[in-house]
């Protein structure tokens, strides 16, 4: 009995090792398949975020223009975009505008995410600019600086420090939302995951690994942000010599 029992344990361990190595082979296979799609996800995220930063800064500044109609129009842009799901915006830009303007998948995807996030970033920039003490404007104006010079040299450099953490959150959100463009056939990470599992039927392993890869990227991004925050915190606010 003892011998059989031992034999069973032995078989059990053997099976386990066999199972684990099979799994490992599957995971490695999936990983090999997914990896080439990672740069595409990064490219989509970074491109659309650069667009979002530029548009967001412009609309954030228009939002605090001293011309009321300009403020109102910027407000409408921001509210309209924040009020529509990103997925609908992707469909609208790719199938709607894309058909007319002949947009490629990549352009449409980047445009959709970039425009969507610009509305959130505009609000962050606006808040960051409004957080600066009014005395800073008065000092700059009294030195003969124009409003634009004041914003550029005095206000915005101080706002950067305030807006970095919320902007970083938006970047991480955009990284995750980039998976939505898989639906228009852009071959990024999520799309690659769908392709793999539809051929191999390994749902569990595929989506687990896709998730883990996103997680690694978002953790990496927040690391970079921590570093950025420290870099900007030192400058000019006496944080070093508290």
């Amino acid at each position: 009995m003892t011998a059989i029992y031992n034999f069973n344990i032995f078989r059990g361990i053997n099976d386990l090792i066999e199972w684990a190595s099979q799994q490992l082979v599957i995971y490695i296979d999936i990983f090999k398949y997914l990896l080439p799609a990672v740069p595409k996800t990064i490219l989509i995220t970074v491109s659309s975020f650069v667009l979002a930063l530029a548009l967001g800064l412009i609309f954030g500044l228009l939002r605090i223009s001293y011309r009321k109609p300009v403020r109102t129009l910027a407000g409408i842009y921001i509210d309209a975009i924040r009020g529509v799901p990103l997925l609908v915006q992707i469909f609208f830009i790719y199938f709607g505008l894309g058909a007319v303007l002949n947009l490629e998948r990549f352009t449409a995807g980047v445009l959709a995410i970039g425009i969507c996030y610009s509305a959130y970033l505009a609000e962050i920039f606006r808040a960051g600019i409004e957080a600066i003490d009014h005395g800073q404007y008065e000092a700059a104006y009294s030195l003969g600086m124009t409003r634009l010079q004041t914003l550029r040299h005095v206000i915005i450099p101080q706002s950067i420090r305030i807006v970095i953490p919320p902007i970083a959150n938006q970047f991480i959100a955009a990284l995750k939302d980039s998976s939505l463009v898989s639906i228009i056939g852009l071959r990024e990470l999520t799309r690659a995951g769908r392709e793999y599992y539809s051929q191999n039927f390994t749902d569990f392993q595929t989506w687990l690994l896709v998730g883990v890869i996103y997680l690694i990227m978002t953790i990496g991004a927040s690391r970079v942000v921590k570093w950025l925050e420290r870099y900007f915190a030192v400058k000019g606010f006496g944080t070093l010599k508290a």
């Binding site: 008065e138 000092a139 104006y141 030195l143 010079q149 005095v154 006496g238």
Partner: protein, 244 residues
């Protein structure tokens, strides 16, 4: 006349902050404005630098009409430097960059020229060794001297000082007043709002007592301090001297 002000009015809601003020200031004159809190001293000074809209009246500085809606208003502001109670230094820039910024951006001076001008002025006020410090690392008195230097670096013709010692610890007031005295001796045209009556007595060519947005009385320091014509002035001076 370097400054001509005619029938200036400025109102906030129901408060008539500046109420029919007329004033001429000569080149090199030091005018000290005193008066209780809320009497419109700050609003009046800010009008001169177009930081405040005016409801009616006229301000002419060196022949140029000050008009806030004018596109080139920042050009006129160049001739008028201002120093504030809360310093308003740029916290993200070190001392020398604070002094250089507007020289480069507005006066279009090269980095080198701006740097030399900044250094020269900082040395004059005893801050030659603080050029690389950030505002957060300075004492109040040092901050205010940097703020004065920052305004002076633009080579203004007129300097406005709004209670520049009010936020300072007592032991730091002297170092800032000394810089202002030095400027007055050098012939700068100055309008100074202050509670430091001893400074007014020593430095002012003319003292103005303001209340409820109006000029109640004006004259030489001797006239105002030793022999005020109006009872309200006397009353204010008695209470103000009690605080000194």
């Amino acid at each position: 006349m370097i400054i001509q002000i005619k029938n200036l009015y400025r109102r906030f809601g129901k408060t008539q902050a500046v109420d029919d003020v007329s004033l001429d200031v000569e080149q090199g004159e030091v005018v000290v404005i005193i008066g209780p809190s809320g009497s419109g001293k700050s609003t009046f000074l800010r009008c001169l630098n177009a930081l405040e809209d005016i409801d009616s009246g006229e301000i002419i500085i060196e022949g140029h009409r000050i008009d806030r809606s004018h596109k080139d208003i920042h050009r006129v502001r160049l001739e008028v430097g201002m120093v504030f109670q809360n310093f308003n230094l740029f916290p993200h820039l070190n001392v020398i960059e604070n002094v250089k910024l507007a020289q480069k951006v507005v006066r279009k001076r090269s980095d080198d020229v701006a740097h030399r001008r900044a250094l020269e002025l900082l040395e004059q006020v005893g801050l030659g060794d603080k050029t690389l410090a950030y505002p957060a690392e300075l004492s109040g008195g040092q901050k205010q001297r940097v703020a004065i230097v920052r305004a002076l670096a633009m080579d203004p013709k007129i300097m406005l000082f709004d209670e520049v010692t009010s936020a300072l610890d007592p032991e730091m007031i002297g170092e800032v007043l000394d810089v202002m005295k030095y400027l007055a001796q050098k012939g700068m045209t100055m309008l100074v709002v202050t509670h430091k009556l001893s400074f007014a007595r020593d430095v002012a060519d003319r003292v103005i007592f303001m209340e409820n947005g109006r000029i109640v009385e004006q004259g030489s320091p001797a006239q105002i301090f030793d022999n005020p014509a109006i009872a309200r002035t006397r009353q204010f001076l008695t209470s103000a001297l009690g605080d000194q």
